[in-house]
Structures are given as C-alpha cells and as structure tokens.
C-alpha cells in the first residue's frame, strides 16, 4: 500500500482544510496518509523536526519545504528523484518556469509545487474605506493619504502583527513598490552591496517608519489571523498580507469584493510570489516510494490543484486549471502572474523564503524587525542591513 508520512505545518484555518482535502484524495486513491503536523512559527518548529529526522536516517516521505531550502537539501543529497514521473506526466509543460527553477535541482525534479501565493496584497474593509471616502491606493503616497484619513477617523489604518516575518512581508512589498523588481532582485537575490546601501533602500525604510505609525500599539506578537479579523470587524482599515488571509475571510463567511477588497500593494505591475511545495526525501521502503509517486502525481493533478487552492486561497501551481470556480481575487492573481512574468516584474518572496536562503532571509528579518520596533534611522538600518547580510553568507 502506498504510504506517505507528510510533514507539514498547515494547521490553521483554510490551510488545514486544504491539507485535509489532499489527505482525502490520497486515501481515495488507495494511499495510507500518515499525518505529521508541526504547528507553530510558520515552519520554525518543523525545521528542527525535519533536521532531526534526516540526521537519524529516517526522513518523512514528503515534507513541506520551499525555495532555496529545497536546493540545499538536494545539495546535501537528501532528496529523491521524481524526474521519471515528471517526464511521464509532462511537468515541464505545465509548470511555470519560475516554479521549475525552484523544484528542480541539477535538472532533476526533487519536489512538487502545490500552489502559488501572491504576497503583495492589501486587504481592505470597504465600509471603513467608504467612511473616510477613500479609494484603494495605487501608490505608496496614496496609501499614506488614505491611512492618514483612516487614522483621523479613529480607525486603525494598518492591521499588523509584530512578528519578524510579518514585518518582513510588509517590508518586501514596500521594497518592490518603491524600488521595482530589478532593485529587489539585485538587493535580495544577488545581495549586491551597493544596492543594499543605496538611497532607494533608505526610502524603503523611510516608508517603513511611516507604516509603523499606522499600526496600533498592541501589535507586538499578534498573530496574522488576529490582524485579519481586525480588518473584518472594521477595527482596522487595511492589512498587508499574502492571499492566505483570504482563507480567513472566506472561513468567516465573507465575500470578496463585497465584504472585503483585495488589491495588490502599490508597485509597477510587480508580483511577489510565494509557493508551497512538497520535497520528496530519500526513502528506502517500497511502500513509501509508491506513496511518494502517488502523492506527487496527485498534487500536480488538475483536480487536486483546483480543490486545494480553493481552500487555501492561492492559485494553482500548474497551468491550465480552469479559473471558473475561483473568486475574483484569485482570478486577478492568475492574470497578474502572467503579466508580470512577461514584464519581468515577478519576484520571489524574501519573507517567505523563496528568493533568499534561510540565512539571508533571517538577516533581513533581523534588521527589518529591529528597525520597525525601535526608532532607528533609515540610514542606520541600511548600514545594518548590508552588514548583517554580509555576515549571513
């Protein structure tokens, strides 16, 4: 019997429903699903478990990891090879090139992507917007004006949770919006020191300082979903968060376009991509191998891509899935993905560990969060950022 022990950290809201869908699909196809959830910290805890499992020579069959982590594990020789299955099912033709880069190592498939999240969303409460007579911002200046209005009306402009990854999420949307895709990649992918220390980066931090002013006092340590519900309840006007936030709205019975608005953060057609994927670790047991194959092929199957992403709020990782059932936000995401991909303004997320390795991401997080939680000047932050990234390598 194909068996798959699946190590994941999808335990909240829509995620949990989505993974349940995968499980049911897997079992319907005769597989045996061994659930290994590790909740907490967006994968922090999971990382320790995975490391210890690999070191003990007993890795789980499928593990939810992503971005450069996949490359690093593959480098270490810990991942299995799915190339054959990939050929069989023609993955080369259905996966966008950016995703292929992520899940392939040395030209071999070592992981399968599940979805594509867009990170650079603003979630807006339309009632609040109406109350202050504002309209969705298209530039950061407009964003600031709107926020000021909201604040004047006694509404918290920006719902935010003070956790490093949330700070970084906001930061990268600002960086993309102010610097553009080229700047973004140069800074965070190529780690170019000049770019990191550039005036543009100073401006980015200036905007971050403004953002800090739009956040309520109680934000430190707040979970993102609590921030989301602040928007739902109208306590706050906006939240900058990836499209998993939509799952919260939907789960609370809200309708997109009516009860909440989704608009991309101000940027010149940019798109910050985040993608979850399952890496298939080296297993020796035949059942496990069969389980991996089954799981991989299910994950990339159209049916699963559709049901899963409907729950999760993201869009399918493979092309050719009918957008019919998806809501307007998702459809917009699909369209924008194509556009920005062509325009070259598609970037990988730093905060969500797509564009940068764990160490670089951590270095960025350290500085961003330090700046956000203190009265550090933008210049000092920029210097610190360059230094910190240099140390991380």
């Amino acid at each position: 019997q194909p068996t798959a022990e699946v190590l994941h950290y999808w335990t909240s809201g829509g995620e949990a429903k989505a993974v349940k869908a995968l499980k049911e699909d897997f079992e319907a196809n005769g597989g045996k699903w061994v659930d290994a959830p590790v909740a907490g910290g967006g994968g922090d805890a999971q990382a320790a478990v995975l490391r210890s499992r690999v070191l003990s020579g007993n890795p789980p069959a499928a593990v939810q990891i992503k971005g450069p982590n996949i490359q690093e594990w593959a480098e270490a020789g810990a991942l299995g090879d799915l190339t054959q299955l990939g050929k069989q099912e023609g993955w080369d033709n259905v996966l966008p090139p950016l995703l292929q880069d992520i899940v392939k190592h040395d030209g071999k498939y070592v992981a399968v992507p599940v979805n594509i999240h867009r990170v650079d969303w603003i979630w807006i409460n339309p009632e609040a917007l109406e109350k202050v007579g504002g309209k969705p911002p298209r530039t950061w200046d407009e964003f600031n004006t709107l926020a000021d209005k909201l604040q004047a009306a006694g509404i918290i402009p920006l719902a935010h949770g003070g956790q490093p990854w949330q700070d970084a999420t906001v930061f990268e949307t600002v960086a993309l919006g102010i610097g553009g895709a080229e700047f973004f990649n140069k800074a965070f992918v190529e780690l170019d020191a000049d770019t990191l220390k550039s005036d543009t980066m100073v401006k980015v931090f200036d905007q971050m300082r403004k953002m800090r002013g739009y956040v309520d006092a109680d934000f430190p340590g707040r979970d993102w979903n609590l921030a989301t519900s602040m928007v739902m309840r109208g306590e706050a006007g906006m939240q900058i968060m990836g499209d998993w936030a939509k799952g919260e709205f939907i789960a609370a019975g809200k309708k997109p376009g009516k009860d909440f608005l989704c608009i991309p953060t101000p940027s010149n057609g940019g798109y910050i991509l985040n993608s979850d994927s399952f890496a298939m670790f080296n297993v020796t047991n035949e059942d496990d191998k069969a389980g991996q194959t089954l799981l991989a092929s299910l994950i990339l199957g159209e049916k699963f891509q559709e049901t899963f992403n409907l729950f999760k709020g993201s869009i399918p990782a493979r092309m050719g899935v009918s957008p019919d059932k998806f809501d307007e936000c998702a459809v917009k995401s699909m369209v924008d993905l194509q556009v920005s991909s062509k325009a070259g303004s598609l970037v990988g997320s730093v905060a969500h560990e797509i564009a940068a390795s764990g160490a670089v991401r951590g270095a960025v997080l350290d500085v961003v969060t330090e700046h956000f939680n203190s009265d550090m000047t933008s210049e000092a932050a920029v210097a610190r950022l360059a230094e910190s990234i240099e140390l991380a390598e």
Partner: protein
C-alpha cells in the same frame, strides 16, 4: 556447635564482589560520557566547521566564533541573558526566601499556600505561556482590567515595549521558579536548630535581627544551591521566550538558547549554532565548575 571452616577463595566471584559497585555505576557513567561529553565534543567540533544545512566535518578554525560575536542579535541575546539572568536569580532568591520566612511564622493554611506557591513549577510554559501572554497584554490583561475599574490612565505595556519586554520574561520566570526556591528555603528553615534561636532570644535579639544576623547566614548552602539551580534555568530558558514574546518586539527579548535554535534549525547555520551552544556552555561552566569543585572538596571532610 559444628566446626565452621573459612571457605577457599573463588577468584571470579571475589572479583565480582569487589567490583560490583563500579560495574553498577558503569552504565550510567558510560551514558553520560557518550550523551553529554561526546555530544559536547561533537558540537564543539561542528562549531569549528562551516556546517550549514547538515553537519560537515572539514575543519575551519574559529571562523564561526568571529562571526558570532559580530552579529547584533547574538550580542543582544547575551546582554539579555545578563539582565534577565541577574534579575531572575536575584528576585527569585529574595522572594523565595521572604515567602519561606513568612510561611515559617506558623501561619494558618500553610499547606494550602505552599501548594499555591509551588504549583507553577509543575507546569510547563508551553501550557501557561498563553495565559501569561494574555495577562501581560495591555489590550486584554491587567492594563485593560485596571482601566475597566475606572483608572483610565493606568498603563502596563511592558510586553509590547522593546525596552521593557525583557522584564516581562523576568516576571513570568520568577513566577515559575520562586516557589521552588521557597520550598528549598522552607525545608532549610525547618532544619535550623531551635536552641540557636532560643539562645538568640536570651541574648536579647529581636525577631528580625535573629533572621538577619543568625538564621540567614547559616543558610549559605541553600543560597548557593538556589543560585546554581537558577543559573542553569536562566541559561536554559527557551520555552519562556517562545511562549511569551516569541523573541519580540523585534528580537529584543531573545536569549542565547533561542538564538542557537534559530540559527541551527531555521537559518541552516549549524556551525554557527554550534559556536553559540559552546559559548552558552562556557557561561554555565564558568559558574558551575567552581561550585562543583568546592562542593566535592567540602564533602571530603564530612
């Protein structure tokens, strides 16, 4: 009476008899050598390599240590350890001692109070962390409650203030450990020779004098025990930060254990993690080894 004879020697049996104690200690000792010292050595070695995702074994010298001490978060973590550790130890000992003395005054319901003071030791922060987070959260907990009583300007927002958040860790850690300290002191107070106290009364000393000048100085060993127990708790503190502040605001409340964990598991910097682990161990050793040495020397003359 029958003639009893002294039996002849049985070499193997004799050997076993003579060495059985060592044989019994051997497994424990072997476990310690391997699982404590072996692992420390392993970590020590790893800290001298450039291991990232998984351990690699090529020697690189002190590269990781140099990096470590250049990193702001590590310096913050060590600074935090200093502040947190000293306050935590000081307050726990003072409070534990005070409560023990208070409980020693033949109070009513002593058993009940003692249980209340002691129970936090029984519960992990994984369990009570949320409760503390709520209590300390300005929007939900004490601040909110006091304001709802009508004192509108009352403010208690340490948890979300990066300057003060480290002190909330102290509050919660003291909550957890001071009861244990109290138990140690209480146990020791109960062992003080009552004739000494009587003698002090006849000498004309007041109650506070008796405690201050006579009883507390005799509890020196307890102070010492508490100091070492608390030191190692402070250095080991990890759950507390995770549960209460998550290291925040920013990374203003991380402790070395959190730093080490983050580096090793989240940022794929096993070598760096190893280096920080060795620094933590060095901190503990600097305090513990003199203690063990004096403890065991003292015992010799018992």
């Amino acid at each position: 009476m029958t003639q009893k004879s002294i039996p002849v020697k049985q070499p193997l049996l004799d050997w076993l008899r003579r060495n059985v104690a060592k044989l019994v200690v051997a497994p424990t000792f072997a476990l310690m050598i391997f699982f404590v010292y072996g692992f420390i050595a392993w970590t020590g070695y790893i800290s001298l390599t450039k291991s990232k995702m998984l351990p690699t074994y090529s020697f690189e010298g002190f590269y990781q240590y140099i990096r470590l001490w250049k990193m702001t978060p590590w310096n913050v973590a060590m600074e935090n350890l200093l502040i947190f550790g000293s306050l935590f130890i000081l307050i726990s000992i003072v409070l534990g001692c005070l409560l023990a003395i208070a409980l020693d005054q033949r109070v009513r319901a002593e058993g009940f109070l003692r249980t209340i003071y002691l129970y936090p030791m029984a519960i992990s922060f994984i369990i009570t962390g949320t409760a503390w987070k709520w209590i300390l959260n300005p929007g939900l907990g004490i601040q909110n409650t006091v304001r709802s009583w009508g004192w509108e300007s009352f403010s208690f927002d340490w948890l979300i203030n990066s300057e003060m958040a480290i002190y909330t860790l102290v509050i919660a850690a003291v909550w957890q450990s001071s009861g244990f300290v109290m138990a140690l002191f209480l146990a020791a107070l109960r062992g003080v020779d009552s004739e000494i106290i009587k003698a002090a009364y006849l000498d004309g000393a007041s109650l506070s004098r008796i405690y201050l000048v006579i009883i507390l100085p005799t509890l020196r060993p307890v102070f010492l025990s508490c100091f070492f127990i608390l030191t190692h708790l402070a250095v080991k503190s990890f759950d507390l930060v995770v549960a209460l502040t998550g290291g925040g605001p920013g990374y203003s409340t991380i402790l070395p254990a959190n730093f080490m964990y983050e580096m090793t598991f989240r940022r794929n910097q096993i070598g760096l993690g190893g280096a920080s682990a060795i620094m933590m161990l060095a901190t503990v050793m600097a305090i513990v080894i003199p203690y063990l040495y004096s403890e065991l020397r003292e015992r010799k003359h018992d």
